[in-house]
């Protein structure tokens, strides 16, 4: 098993030709850049295109203790036809649930092309023994999930045991086989953008297919500066290695306007190649209805009421 050296030392990891320098991040300048990108004005055709893309990239999510087969079934229906009155509205990318509910989602989504994602590895805290976390992920795949959203061990990361974080990602990646692995950094617990960048590089080095901001259980979650910081790390890995790693902001993205801001960030940081569900997802639940309202407003010209959009 590959062993990661402690950061921020050499960081000579098994990626060819080499990883980008870890470097550091200036918080003020990062936040200013994110704020300036958020001011981009996107109108009309471009806005409709962006909103439809946002739907196609959505991981429609329910992660509650109170989740039941009924709740998940309803969510799956929404995922397939978000707006039954408008044929132009596409399906979402995936439905994201706890492992116990994976079979329900698999059953409901069979043949639709919509992926089933499951959180795993002791979500949301990650504070469980490694073998349990691996088993958790493996079981979710066996139940039919083709995407796994794992959490990193923030306790290990913050105490400087980077190798443990790295090893766990490598082992989970092995355990889930062909399933797509999204690695959740839980940036709200990492404290600094320097740590967000380190964790992003670490996760990508360990084999993550996607890096994801948050569990949705901690605030702040997918803020624009955090997204920018992670996208810059993704871009650097691509520049150095040619590898395309996906990005998933999750948590806190509730309004269509925010979703567009996130897309602008992607477009201007990593480029349009990333504007596809293969490389970009938005983890959300309430966002979808706001996008639907905006789309109908663009179509009809009239501002909308939530009464006309189903709560699922």
């Amino acid at each position: 098993m590959a062993q990661a050296p402690a950061l921020p030392g050499g960081f000579e990891l098994p990626l060819e030709p080499r990883l980008p320098r870890i470097g550091s991040v200036d918080a003020v300048a990062l936040e200013e850049r994110a704020a300036s990108l958020a001011k981009r004005s996107i109108k009309k055709d471009a806005k409709v295109w962006a909103l439809q893309l946002a739907i196609r990239c959505t991981d429609l999510t329910t992660l509650e203790g109170a989740d039941t087969p009924g709740k998940v079934a309803a969510l799956c229906s929404k995922a397939i036809r978000p707006d039954p009155s408008d044929a132009h509205v596409p399906s979402v990318a995936a439905v994201c649930v706890y492992p116990n509910l994976v079979p329900v989602a698999v059953d409901r989504l069979r043949g639709t092309g919509i992926h089933v994602a499951s959180v795993a590895t002791g979500f949301p805290s990650g504070q469980y023994p490694t073998d349990i976390k691996i088993a958790d992920a493996r079981r979710a795949v066996e139940a039919g999930a083709d995407e796994i959203d794992m959490v990193i061990d923030r306790g290990a990361f913050l105490s400087g045991r980077y190798a443990k974080v790295y090893d766990e990602i490598v082992k989970v990646k092995e355990a889930v086989g062909d399933a797509h692995l999204k690695v959740i950094l839980e940036t709200g617990e990492l404290g600094t953008y320097d740590n967000v960048r380190r964790a992003s590089l670490l996760a990508m080095a360990a084999g993550a297919d996607f890096i994801k901001t948050s569990t949705g259980k901690v605030n702040p979650a997918a803020t624009l500066p955090v997204a920018l910081c992670m996208l810059e790390a993704i871009r650097d890995v691509h520049e150095e290695t040619g590898r395309l790693v996906g990005f998933k902001p999750a948590g806190g993205v509730r309004a269509a306007k925010q979703a567009i801001q996130h897309l602008v960030l992607v477009n201007e940081t990593v480029g349009p190649d990333w504007l596809t569900p293969e490389l970009y997802r938005i983890g959300a639940s309430s966002l979808l209805n706001d996008i639907l309202m905006q789309l109908r407003k663009e179509k009809t010209g009239a501002y909308q009421s939530p009464d006309y959009f189903t709560l699922d």
Partner: protein, 250 residues
């Protein structure tokens, strides 16, 4: 039998040494033959001043204050009139007060500090010969500048005496340079010298407009100093203000 005094040779003070004018010229003033500096002496003096300036500016204000107080002691031993020098340390600290931290509207730490302008040329007033020179010489030196001063043309001897005191003090060679000679000849050379940063025209009299015009060629700071003004604010004329920004973030 009366003893025949040893006659003193009055020379220039450049780079901590006492050279004759490279031109070999002298002129008679106060009954003595005094070196009559040339263009090339100005050149050499500015060069010495430039070379000495960074280290002098880099000395702590505390150190500069002590060095100048020591100069005052040297002068005190020589003549009562020299006592005007004794405010060194306080003036340094007052000058430092011109700095500030500025409450900008944003996540930045922002502060302003005074720094010496560089090489200052001083045309000392004709009268009073010593006090006038000292009043115009010390403020820029306190602020960390080096100085090339042209002494009173008609009464240059006190300036040479002062130079001798400076030479025996701890003021580094080149920080204070004193030329004697004709103001009309030396003024334009200093005013047009591209490596001089500021010009005190205290003793320029009617030549001011022409010297000011020449000074514009490298945007010199031009000061019309007065012989009788003794104020710490005089230092400010020979200071630049530098403002530094840095973000405040985690």
């Amino acid at each position: 039998m009366t003893r025949l005094p040893v006659k003193k040779t009055y020379k220039l003070f450049v780079g901590g040494e006492f050279p004759r004018s490279e031109s070999g010229r002298t002129y008679e003033a106060e009954g003595q033959n005094v070196a009559r500096a040339s263009r090339k002496d100005v050149r050499d003096a500015v060069k010495a001043a430039r070379a000495a300036q960074p280290k002098w500016a880099g000395a702590t204000a505390y150190n500069r204050g002590q060095v100048l107080y020591r100069l005052a002691e040297m002068v005190e031993a020589r003549a009562g009139e020299f006592a005007e020098l004794s405010t060194g340390r306080e003036e340094v600290e007052r000058a430092i007060d011109r700095g500030s931290s500025n409450p900008v509207a944003g996540p930045y730490f922002n502060f302003t500090v005074p720094e010496p302008t560089g090489v200052v040329a001083v045309l000392a007033p004709e009268e009073p010969p010593l006090l006038g020179l000292v009043s115009r010489l010390i403020p820029p030196v306190v602020g960390g500048n080096s100085v090339v001063a042209v002494a009173s043309e008609t009464r240059p001897l006190a300036a040479i005496e002062l130079a001798e005191a400076v030479a025996t003090s701890d003021v580094p060679g080149g920080v204070i340079n004193i030329l004697t000679g004709y103001r009309r000849e030396l003024g334009p050379v200093l005013a047009s010298h591209m490596d001089v940063n500021a010009l005190d025209l205290a003793g320029a009299d009617g030549d001011s407009p022409e010297l000011e015009r020449l000074a514009a060629e490298n945007v010199k700071r031009v000061v019309h100093g007065r012989a009788d003004v003794q104020s710490p604010w005089e230092i400010a004329s020979f200071l630049e203000l530098k403002t530094v920004w840095h973000p405040i973030g985690q």
